[in-house]
Amino acid sequence: MARNSLRVLPGFRLTLGCTLLYLSLIVLIPLAGVFVKTSTLSWEQFWHIVTAPRALASYRLSFGASFLAALVNVFFGIIVAWVLVRYQFFGKKVVDALVDMPFALPTAVAGITLTALYAPNGWIGQLLAPLGIKVAFTQLGVFIALTFIGLPFIVRTVQPVLEDFDPEIEEAAASLGANRWQTFWRVILPMLYPALLTGFSLAFARALGEYGSVIFIAGNMPMKTEITPLLIVSKLEQFDYAGATALAVVMLVGSFMILLTVNLFQWRSSRHLARL
């Protein structure tokens, strides 16, 4: 590389070496252990564990609730980001800071708080109980907890895009006769797609792995309200390390596939935008 001959800054080998060493010791080698451990299982054993009815039910709940929660967050995330960027109102700065609360509030605290709120005698639960809606200890509770922890992702990815939005584009749409709704739906929203996709995938991936905020509100009934991370923990508590590891492999592969798909989409849409 041409730049190397001109290099005046020191420490390349030292810093890169330390980085790789620390990364390998803390992250890469321990993670590789999951795959090594799984390889001690035969393919039949592995398949038997990961397609057991209890495991399948947990994937359905984990993937389904995470997907729905991320979708709801896309809807409200656009509204919150829009309101924070475009409008002025009293207390806007506080609201803006509060959006990050799910990042700052430990998951166990979120878990017991949501459970207390949505329990039949809780602040929100007692309003829903006469309507026949049960949240705590049902799949709906899992969805509520996952919505809570995914909330900041979409707001924080959409917000900067809206802030940098060129007003001339909207003015052009308006002068060509589009009303506000058409401008939003046909002009603004398509330009938000890459940010929405990033935010969605971050929220989805985070929700898939989430443990602390879900286990309190879920009730953890096998086949009904048991998420995959909890199934891993219960296998660990029975010292079924091979079983826990097999499920961990499914989760790891699942979340990597999501990130990979999204990166591919992103790459294609950025090439598409570049051609415009």
């Binding site: 590389m1 810093t15 999951v34 919150v80 959006v99 166990a108 991370p229 923990v233 961990a248």
Partner: protein, 297 residues
């Protein structure tokens, strides 16, 4: 928006509004919708942590914090964060220096790998250390021969905490230092500064707010981590319980008010984190603008 202020500035209720503004009713509806959603999902839970914690009065509240088990949990949380945060801070600076000050192949792969712990479930973060150092693992016989406990002991908790907070400082510094470029450091070197002098006197003052930002987020996660720590801790009361694990134990013992009292401590910490974060964000963008104008000049 100020950028569109060249158009006639319409006030709510005026018949002639900008073509690129919504009607006042739509605007009010959207603001109300956003506030309602955030109110139900963020404000109500936050208020209820403190309300539930204080349910049995201030006496009971403070008594929870005199319990030696609570104090032990607080101590262990500080130990875990006190080790993992400086380690990841040091790593973040090292990695950011290597990535932003030099060109090499595989840089993007390295950045992706550094972010990896964010896409791994906390439960799996705990599991990997149990597999490595626990009873069936490759190091188990050596560790037990030498009477070293990692799993179900403090070192395991520190390791799990380090894993889940691994990317925070690095991912904060890499974009910042990338945007600041290399010219200032190169100038310092050409003028005769040593490598360390360049780092201490040029780089560090430029990145101090970004660094502090990463450390604050890293610390908040380190103190609040539940899943990963829960898997490796073994829940030995008074020995391997951090604050979040202690909350779980109190809650499962039907001491709900006690659990919320301890939880309010973490919620308070979360609020402090948010305030600091908002304040540092402003400093940080000023920091970036300052170097950009200096480099341009």
């Amino acid at each position: 928006m100020s950028k569109t202020a060249t158009f006639s500035s319409a006030t709510p209720g005026e018949p002639h509004r900008r073509a690129t503004a919504e009607s006042p009713w739509v605007r009010r509806l959207l603001i109300a919708g956003a506030l309602l959603f955030l109110g139900i999902f963020l404000v109500v839970p936050l208020v209820s942590v403190f309300a539930e914690g204080l349910k049995k009065g201030l006496g009971f509240y403070f008594q929870t914090f005199r319990d030696p088990l609570t104090l032990n949990a607080i101590k262990l949380t500080f130990i875990a964060a006190g080790i993992s945060v400086p380690l990841n801070c040091l790593f973040g600076m090292t990695a950011a220096w290597a990535i932003t000050k030099f060109d090499f192949r595989g840089k993007n792969l390295l950045i992706t790998l550094i972010d990896l712990p964010f896409s791994v479930s906390p439960v799996i973060a705990g599991l990997i250390y149990v597999l490595l150092f626990g009873a069936p693992g490759p190091f188990w016989s050596w560790l037990s021969d030498h009477n070293i406990k990692i799993i179900f002991a403090v070192p395991g908790i520190v390791l799990a905490t380090t894993f889940v907070t691994f990317p925070f400082v690095a991912r904060e510094l890499i974009p910042l230092m990338q945007a600041q470029g290399r010219t200032e450091e190169e100038a310092a070197r050409v003028l005769g500064a040593s490598g360390w002098q360049t780092f201490w006197r040029v780089t560090l003052p430029n990145i101090k707010w970004g660094l502090l930002y990463g450390v604050i987020l890293c610390n908040a996660r380190a103190m609040g981590e539940f899943g990963a720590v829960s898997v490796v801790s073994g829940h030995i009361r008074g020995l391997t319980n951090t604050i979040p694990l202690h909350i779980e134990i109190l809650y499962n013992d039907y001491n709900t008010t006690g659990a919320f009292a301890v939880a309010s401590l973490l919620a308070f910490l979360g609020l402090v984190t948010l305030v600091l974060k908002t304040w540092i964000e402003r400093k940080k963008s000023a920091e970036l603008r300052a170097t950009e104008t200096r480099v341009a000049a």
